[in-house]
């Protein structure tokens, strides 16, 4: 890393890149009129693969685009120019990365639902993909676990187990399986496998003995579950990050060069995104879910209020085989073509399943292609809905209260093991849903992005929808490490594009009730803070069960909304209870969703198609679509 000689106030021109698995994205942040703003963006294919096999080529190509677009010069003789001087150079350069498949880890713990799960959380929080979780009670026999360890090719292993002062036998037993199994790293023979031990401190010597003579780099950190009631994930996460830089990144083609260019440690992309989302949630005191759907993986982040006042609980899951290019075939294999096609409102004659399967595979083997026709776009967006749904289900199953925690309700009660392992993700309490990833951020119309989010995540009550304008959350997450002020200013002014607010009815009385009253609404625009809008105009009406409606409310505008639900429908105040809230506008506006929760589409394909066609029309998702392609009677 080059030295950072400038003070934060002296930093006026910032270059930041994110090296994704498919594309490398560069942004330029400049100090303009007394504030930091993101001014330009460039992108280029990531070049870790042959024939280039050097990530810095893609970085320079992306920065080349910035030069073209900004008229500035940042590169000389293949190197970045620092510091800036007039139209030449930048003051700092930072980067994140998920290229080369990211960080892939094997996690092991004693009890699957307790220490192993905490270890998985630590790994995910550090930005890793967890290839497998080995635990004493994972229903596999020792020889099956050993075979699995031998078959996997992790970059790193995290071993945990046992509370401090407790039993050491079981965690040592796991170590005694891992060590002789000799897991082979995917980087080949010259790579020393890092192993992090974050379990019972009493077992440290026995663990060292278990790995003696093996070609591993054993690091010992504080127990990540020192007592059952508390996790201590920080030290393990930090160790993962340090070893990631030292071992994994150093072996990926060109990363040693890239590391010598950046003014801060390269963070795994999801680690940086998690950073910035936690910051928003903390500052605005809200519950947030963020999603980043990429070519190979889908990350879901959530920050929900905890039990104690002021406490927030952060969780991240990575669905390692759900994505829109490399993993698109896996989405189809997991959910099935029937589930994908239920989101497609087009004439079935256009959507031959055999042909669609070929298209999916062609996208898998040529991941950088983009949909050219409207029909290709509609199909891809249908796949995206399913990828997001599956990823969110996995997230909700993982983001739970700590399992294995006993609770005493009152003095004299016997101990019970209730209320542990419940999901903490509550769609009714969700305040903000943030989208990023190509298929969401680059959708031709934001109405499409909004509907994809609503259909996939099924928010309930009042939920603000936003998208990361050009996928700069990773850049801002790592920038926050060296220049928090710049990071927050750009985040507030340039990063999020507000789509609007979804107001959705919870309750699902059944297909027979479609067309019956769901709720009535009254919307009054509030005076604009800028003074441009006087406010007062409004809209009111009734929504029938099964309908959606779009009410324009521009970005920067707010409105007062009153909802009177029919019996059985809940908007956050209880079933059938009136509720009043102030909501934000956005590029899409207010989406009134009376389709109920959980969202159910008709089993009959033709009925479902007509219903989708109605929703698509109501939301203006594909206004240029030829009528004959839809074939609505």
């Amino acid at each position: 890393m080059p030295p950072l000689d400038l003070t934060p106030d002296q930093i006026k021109v910032i270059l930041a890149t994110d090296c994704g698995s498919t594309t490398t994205k560069a942004i330029l942040i400049q100090y303009v009129d007394g504030q930091y703003r993101q001014t330009h963006r460039g992108e280029a294919p990531t070049t870790v693969e042959a024939p280039f096999a050097d990530v810095t080529m893609g970085v320079l190509n992306a920065i080349n685009e910035l030069e073209d677009l900004s008229g500035k010069k940042f590169i000389e003789n293949g190197r970045l120019i620092h510091p800036h001087n007039g139209n030449t150079g930048s003051d700092i350069y930072i980067s994140t990365s998920s290229a080369g498949g990211g960080l892939q880890m094997l996690v092991a713990g004693v009890v699957r639902q307790m220490t192993a799960e905490s270890a998985k959380r630590a790994a995910l929080g550090a930005g890793a993909i967890v290839m497998d979780v080995i635990a004493s009670n994972d229903k596999r026999r020792p020889h099956e676990q050993i075979q699995r360890i031998r078959d996997l090719r992790p970059d790193m292993i995290l071993l945990s187990g046992g509370t401090d002062g407790g039993n050491t036998t079981q965690v040592v037993q796991i170590a005694e399986l891992i060590a002789p199994a000799k897991p082979q790293p995917r980087f080949g023979g010259r790579y020393t496998m890092p192993v992090i031990y974050a379990g019972n401190t009493d077992a440290r010597e026995a663990i060292k003995d278990a790995f003696k003579g093996e070609a591993v780099d054993l690091a010992t950190v504080e127990n990540l579950r020192p007592v059952l009631e508390r996790e201590n994930l920080g030290p393990a996460r930090d160790a993962i990050h340090d070893l990631f830089l030292e071992h994994v990144m150093a072996h990926a083609p060109g990363y040693d060069k890239l590391m010598s260019w950046t003014h801060a440690s390269i963070m795994p992309t999801p680690g940086a995104v998690g950073n910035i989302l936690q910051t928003i949630a903390r500052m605005q005191k809200i519950n947030v879910v963020g999603v980043d759907i990429g070519g190979a993986t889908t990350d879901v982040f959530s920050v929900f209020e905890g039990k104690e006042p002021g406490e927030t609980v952060f969780n991240r899951t990575v669905s390692a085989n759900l994505g829109m290019s490399y993993s698109i075939s896996n989405v189809c294999a997991e959910t099935g073509m029937k589930n994908i096609l239920r989101w497609v409102h087009l004439d079935p004659k256009i959507m031959d399943e055999r042909e669609l399967r070929n298209r999916v595979k062609n996208k898998m083997i040529r991941p950088t292609t983009i949909p050219q026709t409207q029909e290709a776009l509609i199909f891809e967006q249908a796949v995206a809905r399913e990828a997001l749904r599956l990823a969110y289900i996995q997230h909700k199953e993982f983001a739970t209260t700590l399992k294995g925690v006993q609770q005493q309700r009152t003095v004299g009660d016997t101990f019970t093991q209730l209320a542990s392992g419940q999901t903490i993700v509550d769609n009714m309490k969700l305040d903000l849903l943030v989208a990023s990833g190509g298929v969401l951020s680059h959708a031709p119309r934001m109405n499409q992005t909004a509907m994809l989010l609503i259909d996939a995540f099924e928010p309930e009550g009042f939920t603000t929808l936003a998208k990361d304008s050009i996928f700069m959350m990773p850049h801002l997450g790592v920038l926050a490490e060296v220049h928090p002020k710049a990071s927050l200013e750009v985040f507030e002014k340039d990063c999020l594009i507000y789509l609007g607010t979804c107001i959705a009815a919870k309750g699902a009385p059944g297909a027979g009730k479609v067309g019956r009253p769901c709720f009535s609404y009254e919307i009054k625009r509030l005076p604009s803070p800028s003074g441009r809008g006087a406010g007062g105009e409004g809209d009111s009406g009734d929504m029938l069960y099964g309908d959606v409606k779009l009410i324009p409310l521009a970005d920067g505008e707010t409105a007062n909304v009153v909802i009177e639900p029919a019996r059985g429908f809940d908007f956050g105040a209880g079933p059938g209870k009136r509720i009043e809230r102030t909501v934000k506008g956005g590029t899409v506006g207010i989406i009134l969703d009376a389709r109920g929760r959980p969202l159910r589409l008709p089993e009959d394909r033709e009925q479902g198609r007509r219903m989708m066609a109605k929703w698509v029309e109501a939301l203006g998702m594909y206004p240029e679509m030829k009528r004959e392609a839809v074939a609505v009677a």
């Binding site: 693969e49 050993i146 002789p180 075939s329 070929n358 983009i370 409207q374 031709p444």
Partner: protein
């Protein structure tokens, strides 16, 4: 202006090619620098540590872990066979001891006083690495393997299944547009690398397996047929370890697609030659594409080395369209507009004009074309 950089697949009549042939763990290299090797020569060999079996004697003998060692009839480093007494229980006052006979064969690698667990290591597993490509050993990688170099004709496919195999090139189709059907697979193709034209059908694949062909190379395949053949839906493009009795390489993609004419002509010119073939495909994190390699004969005059210019989209360069609605069509770059255009899908993207072989011109996103060697 920034360069456009669209990576392409390699199809060339002559190139200097190197292959790195290494063991998964340290072993013995059997060749010397400068040595000429044929494709099936073993260049390195080693033994992988045998399978391990943990035996929890503390549980079996109902003993505290620390007491296990004194009950053992064998010690660390001893060989053990199935049925051989391994340990005895403590019994009652030293009487009525029960013997525990080993259920596994191998060497006692470790006995843990902490867990009472014994690790038995099975017989070492031999691993050999073949040269794969006939050529000359140009570099020895000590204890790991070597690099073999040769002048070859080299054809990359877009997707494959199955690993390394060898055979002589046999033509099954008359031209690059002909589909490869079952009736075109003959018994005489046994051991051969069968070259098709356009899409290969499921029945043709089954027939090729029946006649004992080593590999099939064709323009396209239906994913539906691939799924039927494999027995599962391929989720992620990481292949090469399928054991289905044949290696399959698809040169263009999935669906009804003709092999590129240039590729077909080159393979046709190599009919009868011995080829090394590998169907292994990996799209990310170390990309691998399936390949057909045929060493150039000494007397192959007139085949000049072709220079591959990676990543440049320039006017006149041949390209293949790799996405619907014109998937598989080939043409030449006719224009490179600087500004992004709005596509039918509504997205904005940088585009190029392609003049197709038919004479028509189409506008395509730059992301949707692939360079082909010209």
């Amino acid at each position: 202006m920034a360069q456009a950089y669209t990576p392409g697949l390699k199809v060339t009549a002559r190139t200097t090619h190197r292959v790195r042939r290494v063991l998964p763990i340290a072993g013995e290299v059997l060749v010397k620098q400068g040595q000429k090797v044929s494709a099936k020569d073993i260049v390195a060999q080693t033994f992988m540590p045998g399978e391990i079996t943990p035996v929890n004697l503390a549980n079996i003998l109902s003993l505290p872990p620390a007491d296990v060692r004194e009950c053992l009839l064998k010690k660390q480093g001893d060989r053990i066979t199935i049925g051989e007494p391994l340990a005895h229980s403590k019994g009652i006052f030293g009487l009525f001891k029960n013997e525990y006979k080993s259920k596994h064969e191998g060497t006692i690698e470790n006995i843990s006083d902490v867990t009472g667990q014994m690790i038995i290591r099975g017989a070492p597993i031999p691993v050999q690495v073949l040269a794969y490509m006939a050529g000359t050993v140009v570099e020895i990688i000590p204890d790991e393997g070597c690099i073999v170099e040769a002048e070859v004709s080299f054809i990359q496919g877009i997707f494959g299944i199955g690993g390394e195999t060898f055979g002589r090139i046999v033509m099954a189709c008359k031209d690059h547009t002909q589909e490869l059907h079952e009736d075109l697979i003959k018994d005489s193709m046994r051991g051969g690398v069968v070259i098709g034209g356009a899409r290969v059908t499921a029945e043709a694949i089954e027939q090729a397996v029946k006649v004992g062909a080593a590999a099939i190379v064709s323009g396209g395949i239906d994913d539906h047929d691939l799924k039927e053949f494999l027995g599962y839906d391929l989720g992620v493009a990481i292949t090469g370890s399928e054991q289905k009795g044949i290696t399959i390489i698809v040169t263009e993609g999935f669906g009804e697609i003709a092999m590129a004419e240039r590729t077909f002509r080159l393979l046709h010119s190599l009919e009868g030659s011995e080829a090394s073939v590998n169907g292994a495909t990996q799209i990310r994190a170390g990309v691998m594409r399936p390949e057909i390699i045929v060493p150039v004969q000494e007397d192959a005059a007139g085949l000049a080395e072709e220079k591959f210019d990676p990543g440049q989209l320039t006017i006149g360069r041949p390209v293949r369209i790799i996405r619907d609605p014109w998937f598989g069509l080939i043409g030449k770059v006719a224009g490179l507009p600087g500004q992004p255009a709005v596509l039918e899908s509504g997205s904005k993207a940088r585009v190029l004009e392609v003049r197709l072989d038919s004479g028509d011109s189409v506008v395509i996103p730059r992301a949707n074309v692939e360079l082909i060697e010209g």
